[in-house]
Symmetry: C2
Subunit: 185 residues, 2 copies
Amino acid sequence: MALDHAILVSLLEKPGSGYELARRFERSIGYFWTATHQQIYRVLKRMEQDGWIDVREVPQQGRPDKKEYSVAERGRDALSAWLREPIEPESVRHDLAVKIRGAAFDDPAGLISEVERHREAHTGRLGHYLAGEARDFGEPPEDGTLDAERELQHVVLRGGIAYERMMIAWLDDVLATLDRFRAGP
Amino acid sequence: MALDHAILVSLLEKPGSGYELARRFERSIGYFWTATHQQIYRVLKRMEQDGWIDVREVPQQGRPDKKEYSVAERGRDALSAWLREPIEPESVRHDLAVKIRGAAFDDPAGLISEVERHREAHTGRLGHYLAGEARDFGEPPEDGTLDAERELQHVVLRGGIAYERMMIAWLDDVLATLDRFRAGP
DNA sequence: TCTTGCTATGCAACGAGGTGCATAGCAAGC
DNA sequence: GCTTGCTATGCACCTCGTTGCATAGCAAGA
């Protein structure tokens, strides 16, 4: 299970509450690992019981108090152990690919609007990534030293960018293919 | 849930037993939707009860008998309805990306062998896809007509090829980045 | 004969993930 | 005063997916 580890990484990058984590999972980390707030609270509770993370009650003004979590020694060890474990290359689940193959037995051209919707979603994400890249990695760090956290975040973001570009190109290929079946057989 | 629909599509492409489906999910369909044989048998049972698919006992010589499933009217309708439903662009789960960002708090260079393993896996898949493409789509159909099933299978396969190429290029990027931290800080 | 291995189907149990719902503090606007 | 909306946390339930195990027919080879 990698949700534990995704949360640990996020907390190492910056301690925060369950609510804040949930919002990070809508951006940043969420680009390559999704989770709802219920999942996050559940995992936080378990990790706290296991001593992987520490809690600190933080009173706030103008809004409800929060529990700020940070990674404890045991959490670091658990993450370290996980990093050393080989994992299987991801198992993919592409609904859209199933739909495309399925459309052969229904109406291929009927899928066009759906594929266009997906294309727009990916274009949006790409724009978002590129804006983030320009903002956070536009200029090299002042002191010129190697910052592992920064460099590794950047290479992951480049992966997201490459993925979205690939998807957009492929969806164009799909659209061109579907288009050949407009009012066809 | 799309496992139902992935199975329906596979059975429309060619009727078969649970065992045969399980093997297809290790190849072909399995490239963009994974499933174990237990999942498949469970779903087949449910879909048969719901009248989505028909069964036929097929005696075999030299091996145990099998149950051959094929798609019934209701199954076609269910697939058709699903094709018309908009779906959300997939939620991604990349363990490796979590690991890469996590490596900033451990030993970045320690990830190199793991990333190399993934690179090999993707290279293998790419070779497999390219061989399949040459075999199944190397030459255009004799009669020159548009075959939706063939064309749509091909465009999905091209997606797989584009994905693997993108991943290999990105993993090279990751390796180059990690390499800068060899025996580093 | 015994083991190994492939074909073929299935159950039981558990854990992960998702949906819906509930609660509560506080601010801003109607 | 009431509603709306954001922050913040959590429970209950149900489904999906995975793991481990079990059974059984038949072939091939040691």
